[in-house]
Every structure is written in structure tokens, then in C-alpha cells.
């Protein structure tokens, strides 16, 4: 390894090394534990003593750890199975099982929370403590969740191809929900999706995985503008667009264009297309809302999702005026989260400030996080205090 020690590069090798151990006869759970221990060793020794062949180093150390565990267990059980598990002295196989480890960790038998936890440990190479901190649960709880998840997938075949859609869903969850602790989960989700995009598809390309990558890049680009220093939310229309990361925007647009050119549209590509139109506009007013609505129409035809219907109504409000937006909103399930917030916004735009203030206050009471609650309360406060003047 040349250059300074890079932990992300080290961790990107984790699924592939687990794959080698499993091919040599280790069961998945034990292989994963052994690789975690090798990682700890690598973080300690690589900065001052970098190996020439990082993957080979990890395989050697992890396999040694695995054998230590097997030997001590078999000694305890007074059985001699270790002889069957002598190290393979030859070079590691060329076959790369990274993608199989992605599939296993997103196995459909796992709950979403378990799949997320297992993916972050066995694919991303994070420690249990880091995953626990990211999701604000005690480390012991996360350790249990991960070991239960490993038991659940331990009988799954390593050779059967998995479903890329389930992997994408897990990575989307990681991107969307993780925000605390010392690990940047959004950046981690982008790294894994990038890795998946290079592994997926017969020619190494899968348009929906590229679509997901583009979507993440385009949203990540806006992150510096999305919150103020005190943690309060800045809505898209008020964001300082000079803070958007233009390098990420450009990469997102390039990845999206390559994906769309493959003519197999899916929901992530369509969502990314909408995000790209926002990224392209100097302000809310100068956004191509007519085209945004067209993408929403296509997304709605594909997914029939109530959330898409809600977002489309807001876009219609921008493209064709508040009344048209409210008419579109009439078709949307009023129990949806953020329905009242959207209604409040459209009522304000239509000039009905009293109704808007009332709806913002109701929306605040229904908010699912404090930042959103504060933001919506302030919207109501703004309208109420200007009405009193």
C-alpha cells in the first residue's frame, strides 16, 4: 500500500476477505468475526508498517484468527476437527465474493434494521460500537442484533445470486436515516453504492444502482446548505445554493445520464432526475417545474406511491399555481406524514394565510423529528405574528 493510511480503503476490502474465508470452509459468522479482528490489527499496524498486499495480509491474519478460535473450541469440545481446516497455503482465489456478501447482508429473511446493521459491519467494516452510536442504541443491543442477523443468514447459500433491489433498499436506508455518531453514514452509503455499482450487472453496470448512486450524490451535494449552524432546517427554497458541492452535483449528473442512456428506467433514476433539475436551477423560481412534474408523473406511473403523489402536488403548485397544487393534493391521502405541511405551504402560496398558519401548527404537532417540528412551528409563528401587525 502506498500513500497515507486510508481506513475507507482498508474497509472496502472487508467483504472480499470474508468471501475468501467462506470459500475456504469457514462459516459466515465465524469468518466475519475473524475479519473484524484482523481489521483491528490492521488499524494498529498499517499506519507505520503498510503491507505490500493489503488483501493478502488481511486474509492471512483473519484466517489465523479463525483457526485459533476453531482450535480452542475443538480443544474444549475434545474433538479433532481442526485438522480438516488447515490453512490453504496457496494464493487466494481470483473469484471475488464481495457481491455475495452484499446479498447475504441484505437477505430478505432479515428485518430492515437487521439488514442495515449487518451490512454496516460485514460490508462496510464498521465496528459494532460505531454502528450502535450511529443508531443511538446501547452497544450490547446492537451486538445482539448483529449476531441474530448472522444466525438468520447462516444457512443461506453463498452461491445463489441475490437480489440487487434488496441491497439498494438497505443502502438507501443507511443513506437516509443515519446521521449521528462519529461515522458519516451518508458518505458510507455512497461508498458502498459506488462499490455495488462497479460490481453489479453483466457488464459491470446496473442502471438502477447507478440511479441510486446519482440520487445520493445529488442530495449529499446539498447537505452543507440544508442545516444552519444551530441545527435548524433550511428548506430547499431558502438554501444558499453557493454552498452546494458542485463536484458532487457534476458527478451525480454524469452518473445519471449514463444510467438513463441504458433505457431501463426505475424509481431511483427518476428520483435522481428530479434532484438533478433542482441542482441545475439557480433558485426555486427558476427551476423547471414543468419538467419536474413530468418526472413525477412517470415516477407515479411506475410506483403508484402516495408519497410521490404528495410531492407531485407540491411541484404542480409551483408549475401551475397554488390552486392547481391544492387540487392535486385533494387526491392524496390526508393521513400521510407531511400532508399538512404541504397543504400549509400551498395555502400560504394561494394567499390564505389564516388557514396556512393553522395547518402549519397542526403539521408541527405531527412532525416526526424535533428539527422539523421547530421549523413548522416557526412557519406558523411567522404567519401569526405578521397577521397581528
Amino acid at each position: 500500500m502506498t500513500g497515507p493510511f486510508d481506513e475507507a480503503t482498508l474497509r472496502s476490502l472487508v467483504p472480499s476477505v470474508i468471501g475468501v474465508l467462506v470459500r475456504r470452509g469457514a462459516d459466515f459468522a465465524a469468518a466475519e468475526d475473524a475479519v473484524q479482528e484482523a481489521l483491528v490489527e490492521a488499524v494498529r499496524s498499517w499506519p507505520h508498517d503498510p503491507p505490500r498486499d493489503p488483501k493478502g495480509w488481511l486474509v492471512t491474519v483473519a484466517w489465523r484468527r479463525f483457526l485459533d478460535v476453531v482450535r480452542s473450541e475443538s480443544a474444549r469440545q475434545r474433538r479433532e476437527v481442526a485438522t480438516e481446516l488447515e490453512p490453504d497455503p496457496g494464493p487466494t482465489q481470483d473469484a471475488d465474493d464481495t457481491l455475495q456478501v452484499f446479498f447475504l447482508c441484505a437477505h430478505p429473511a432479515l428485518t430492515p434494521a437487521s439488514a442495515v446493521a449487518l451490512t454496516l459491519r460485514a460490508v462496510a467494516g464498521l465496528t459494532t460500537r460505531q454502528v450502535a452510536e450511529a443508531y443511538l442504541v446501547p452497544e450490547a443491543t446492537m451486538a445482539q442484533r448483529i449476531s441474530r442477523a448472522k444466525r438468520t443468514v447462516s444457512t443461506a447459500s453463498f452461491d445463489r445470486p441475490g437480489d440487487l433491489a434488496t441491497v439498494r433498499r438497505v443502502l438507501y436506508l443507511v443513506f437516509n436515516e443515519g446521521y449521528s455518531g462519529d461515522v458519516d453514514l451518508a458518505a458510507e452509503a455512497i461508498r458502498l453504492t459506488r462499490q455495488l455499482a462497479t460490481l453489479a450487472g453483466p457488464d459491470g453496470q446496473d442502471p438502477e444502482t447507478e440511479g441510486l448512486l446519482a440520487l445520493m450524490l445529488l442530495h449529499h451535494a446539498r447537505r452543507p446548505a440544508r442545516t444552519r449552524a444551530d441545527g435548524t432546517l433550511v428548506p430547499l427554497s431558502e438554501q444558499d445554493r453557493s454552498l452546494w458541492d458542485t463536484t458532487l452535483v457534476q458527478e451525480g449528473v454524469d452518473v445519471l445520464q449514463a444510467a438513463l442512456a441504458r433505457q431501463q428506467r426505475g424509481e431511483y433514476q427518476l428520483q435522481a432526475a428530479i434532484a438533478a433539475l433542482h441542482a441545475d436551477a439557480p433558485s426555486t423560481g427558476e427551476t423547471d417545474w414543468v419538467q419536474v412534474v413530468q418526472w413525477y408523473d412517470e415516477l407515479l406511473a411506475l410506483t403508484d406511491s402516495p408519497v410521490v403523489r404528495l410531492n407531485r402536488a407540491v411541484a404542480v403548485g409551483e408549475a401551475d399555481g397554488a390552486r392547481a397544487g391544492l387540487a392535486a393534493l385533494a387526491d392524496v391521502d390526508p393521513d400521510l406524514p407531511r400532508h399538512r405541511a404541504a397543504a400549509a405551504y400551498l395555502h400560504e402560496k394561494s394567499g390564505d394565510l389564516a388557514t396556512a398558519a393553522q395547518l402549519y401548527a397542526e403539521a408541527a404537532a405531527l412532525a416526526t423529528n424535533l428539527a422539523e417540528r421547530t421549523h413548522l412551528t416557526k412557519q406558523a409563528a411567522r404567519l401569526n405574528s405578521s397577521a397581528g401587525e
Binding site: 441545527g231 404537532a365 412532525a367 416526526t368 412551528t377 409563528a381
Partner: protein, 135 residues
Amino acid sequence: MPKYLILKHYRGTPATVNDVPMDQWAPAEVDAHMQFMDEFGKRLEENGELVDAQALSQEGAFVRANDQGTGPVTDGPFAETKDLIAGWYVVDVDGWDRAVELAGELSLAPGKDGRPIHEWLEVRPFYGAPSATGD
């Protein structure tokens, strides 16, 4: 050190002095309140007194088991008159007096017109473990 729960309520406590719903404040007053709460939490942490702080949504329901073989029964959303917990701090402090002092500080969070809310906070001691020398 004993632990105490400092409980905030959306409703169900005696009326406060400055009792105006937050959406009737000026936006800058909302900001000032949030900043106060933020600083209060940070100060607890810096003092080494904070164990946990959580805020609860107003949503939810009461749930109990029904007759065998049928699903649980829910009652909710909560009626307007019911006591409704908004959140809590768990603090690990020298004793009751310090817990009351902290709740008193919290009660002075600024509200409408920048004046303190004088909100009622509930302070409850946790049961501790039996002491090693107490028998």
C-alpha cells in the same frame, strides 16, 4: 450519586405564568427558546450530570391486551384533557436539592415576549440499588 427524572409535560400540569402556545410567539422567540434548551442540555453534559435527554411526539395511544385470541385494544389519540409527557432529562446529581435547582432553571426557559414560561416540571427520584453498607 442518585438519579432523578425531570419530566416535561405538554399538558396536565397546573397552568404556567406565561402560557401561550409556541405558534403564537414571534419566530425569534422560538429561536431563543430552542437556544436556551440546547444550552441547558450542553451545560448538564459539561457538568457531568446528564444521563439521558429525550423528547416525545404528541402522537401515540394507550394500549392494553384484549380477550385471548384477539389483538390488543388501543385508546387514542390522547384526549385533550389527559396528562401528556413531552420529554425528559435523566440527571445523576448530588441529591434532591440539585435536581430541584436544575428543574427550576429549566422552568425559566424564555417564551412569548422573551419572558420566562415558569413551566411546571416534575422531578422524580429513581430507586437506586441497595447499598453495600445498608444492612
